[in-house]
Symmetry: C2
Subunit: 328 residues, 2 copies
C-alpha cells in the first residue's frame, strides 16, 4: 500500500496530488491515506501537505527501505524480493533462516544495524546504525559446491564496480577484502548449505562501511577499518550505492550462470592489489605462516604464491600485503 502511494507521489513529483485522488486509486478512505503519509514521514519522507491541493513528495530519505532500493532497480534475479530490517542480529543468519524455509533465489536481506554482525571465522563485524550497507543475498546456483568460493570473488568485484561508478578506485586484497589506505572498506562472508551433488543455497553477506567517520570506529579497529566517505572526503548516498552493487552483482551472476567464472576472475584481476606483491599468508586452520610473491589466481580462485619452497596454492587464509618500503 505504502509503496503504491509512493509511486503515485513520485509520478507527479513536482505537483500536488489530492488525498481524494490517491484514496480513489487505492480504494481506501482519505483518512487511511493520511495515516500512511504520517508513517512515511516518520520513515524520513519529506511530504508536503496542503489542505486544498493535497500531497507533494519533496524528498526521499537515504534510508534502506524496500521501496527506495527497488525504485529504478533493473536486476533480473537479485533483489526481486528485498526484506529490510531496522535492526537484526545478522543479515546472514536471517538469510539462512529464510533460505531454509524456501526463500527464492535473489532474496536480499538488509538492515540499518546489526547487533551480532559477523565476519569470517566467527570474527565480529562492526555494523553501526544507518552508516553502512549491511546485507545478504540468497543464491541457488546450479554449479557444484566446489565453485562456491568464487562467489566471494564475484561479490568483491560487484562492490568494486559500484565504487568505480562513484569515482572511487577499488583495490581488492585476495580473496575479497576491499581496502583503502591498507584499511578495510568492505567485508564479505559467504556461507553455503550443500549436498555433494549441488548447492541448496549460498548466502553472500556483505558489509560496506559507507558513511562512517574515523571517530565512529571502536578503538580496536580504528587502525584497520575505514569507510567510503573517508576515502571520498564526503558522504555517499547509500541507496544509490546499494543499487549499483545489486545491479553489478546481478549482472555478474547472470553471466556466471551462462559462461562460468572466467570473466569474473578476469575482472577480479583488474581490481586486485595483491598480485605482484610480497605477501604473508597465515593458514586459517593450521596457523602455518609463509611469505612469498603472489603471482596469480588459478581457475578455482586460489591464490598462487611463489615461496622459497616453491609455489603454494592458497585456498583459504589470511593474506597481508607487505607495505612498500616496509618490513613484516
Amino acid at each position: 500500500m505504502r509503496n503504491t502511494i509512493l509511486e503515485i507521489l513520485r509520478a507527479g513529483r513536482d505537483q500536488y496530488i489530492s488525498g481524494e485522488e490517491i484514496a480513489d486509486k487505492l480504494g481506501v478512505s482519505r483518512t487511511a491515506v493520511w495515516k500512511h503519509i504520517k508513517e512515511m514521514r516518520a520513515q524520513g519522507y519529506d511530504i508536503e501537505s496542503h489542505a486544498r491541493s493535497g500531497y507533494r513528495l519533496r524528498e526521499t530519505p537515504d534510508a534502506l527501505l524496500a521501496g527506495e532500493i527497488r525504485h529504478g532497480l533493473k536486476t533480473k534475479i537479485i533483489g526481486q524480493e528485498i526484506i529490510c530490517h531496522e535492526e537484526i542480529d545478522s543479515t546472514n543468519n536471517e538469510a539462512k533462516r529464510l533460505a531454509r524455509q524456501g526463500a527464492k533465489e535473489g532474496t536480499v536481506v538488509v538492515a540499518e544495524s546489526q547487533t551480532g554482525g559477523k565476519g569470517r571465522l566467527e570474527r565480529q563485524f562492526f555494523s553501526p546504525q544507518g552508516k553502512g550497507i549491511w546485507f545478504s543475498v540468497i543464491l541457488r546456483p546450479r554449479f557444484l559446491p566446489q565453485d562456491a568460493p568464487k562467489c566471494t570473488l564475484m561479490a568483491a568485484v560487484a562492490v568494486a564496480r559500484a565504487m568505480m561508478e562513484f569515482g572511487l578506485q577499488p583495490g581488492i586484497k585476495w580473496p575479497n577484502d576491499l581496502l583503502y589506505d591498507n584499511k578495510k572498506l568492505v567485508g564479505i562472508l559467504t556461507e553455503m548449505s550443500a549436498e555433494m551433488d549441488g548447492i541448496n543455497y549460498i548466502v553472500i553477506g556483505t558489509g560496506i562501511n559507507v558513511n562512517i567517520e574515523p571517530s565512529d570506529f571502536p578503538e580496536d579497529i580504528r587502525e584497520v577499518a575505514t569507510s567510503l566517505s573517508i576515502m571520498k572526503g564526503e558522504a555517499l548516498p547509500r541507496v544509490s550505492f546499494f543499487q549499483s552493487v545489486l545491479q553489478a552483482l546481478d549482472d555478474l551472476y547472470v553471466r556466471v550462470q551462462c559462461e562460468g567464472f572466467a570473466p569474473v576472475l578476469e575482472e577480479w584481476r583488474k581490481y586486485n592489489i595483491t598480485l605482484g606483491q610480497e605477501v604473508k599468508v597465515i593458514g586459517v586452520r593450521d596457523g602455518e605462516v609463509y611469505t612469498g610473491k603472489a603471482v596469480d589466481i588459478d581457475e578455482d580462485g586460489a591464490l598462487l604464491v611463489d615461496t622459497s619452497k616453491g609455489r603454494q596454492r592458497v585456498l583459504a587464509g589470511d593474506v597481508s600485503i607487505r607495505p612498500q618500503r616496509g618490513k613484516w
Copy 2:
C-alpha cells in the same frame, strides 16, 4: 539409569542378581528397579525374574538402542553421543538440526524407521521399520569445503569394511553406492554447512538395507534395491553390523584428519566395481549424457572417464555400469 541396570545385568550375565542389590547400587527402591525392568522387556530385552534369586539377562534385542550400540564400542570420535529414535522424518534433518544447535562432532542419530528418508537430489529413500540401519553422523572436520565430497567415499569404504567382516564382498559404484547383483544395498547422502574458510558441519547420512526381503520393497524399487540378508541368504545382527560400520568410520576419519584422504581413496579403489568398466554418466545438473571407460579417481575423488572426446572429470553425476554382454 536403564543403561546402568543393563551394565549390572551384563556383568553377571549367567547368574541372578537380586533386585535389592541393583536397587542399592543405584540408590533407588526395588519398585523403581522393577519398573525399569518392565520397560526394558518392552524394548525387547529377555530378562528372567525369580522371586527369590532376582533378575538374569537372557538375551539382548537386536534393536537400535543406545545402550546396545555403545556396548563394546571402542571409537574415539564417532558415537560418543548416540541418539536413537523409533521413528523420525529423516535422520539427516535431525542431525542438521542438532548440528545447528551445536551438537558435538561424532554425534550419531539413528532411527528404526524414517517417514521421510531422503537420498541424493531430493529422491526418496525407503527405510522400513526395524529392517535396516538408518543413521547420520555429525562431523566438524578441520579441512576445507573442497575436501567434503571425499567424506562420501569414506562412508562407503566404512560400510565396505563392515561387509568384509561379515563375510560379504563389497562392490562400490562411484561415488558411494554399494551394490550387489547390480542393485543397491546402501545409500549415502552427505550434506554440509560451510563458510569458504572452513566447514561448520558435515552430516553423513547412511541407509543400510540389512534384513529386507524382496517382497518388502515397494514394486517401483524392487528391481533396483536389495539387502544384506538377500546377499548373505540369512538375517544379519543389526547392532553388531552397525558397530562395525561406526568402528570403521571412526578409524578412517581419525586417519583422514592426520594424513588426508589418500589412504581412503586407495581403499576405495580396492572395493570399487567402477574402474575399468564402460560407464554411462548423466550430469545431475545439466542432464548431459556420455559414455566411456572409467579409468581412475583423482585426488579430489572425481571420476576420470575416457570418452571419444577425451578425458572427462566427473565431480557429480549418476553413473551406471554397462552390464557384461549388455547394451545400454
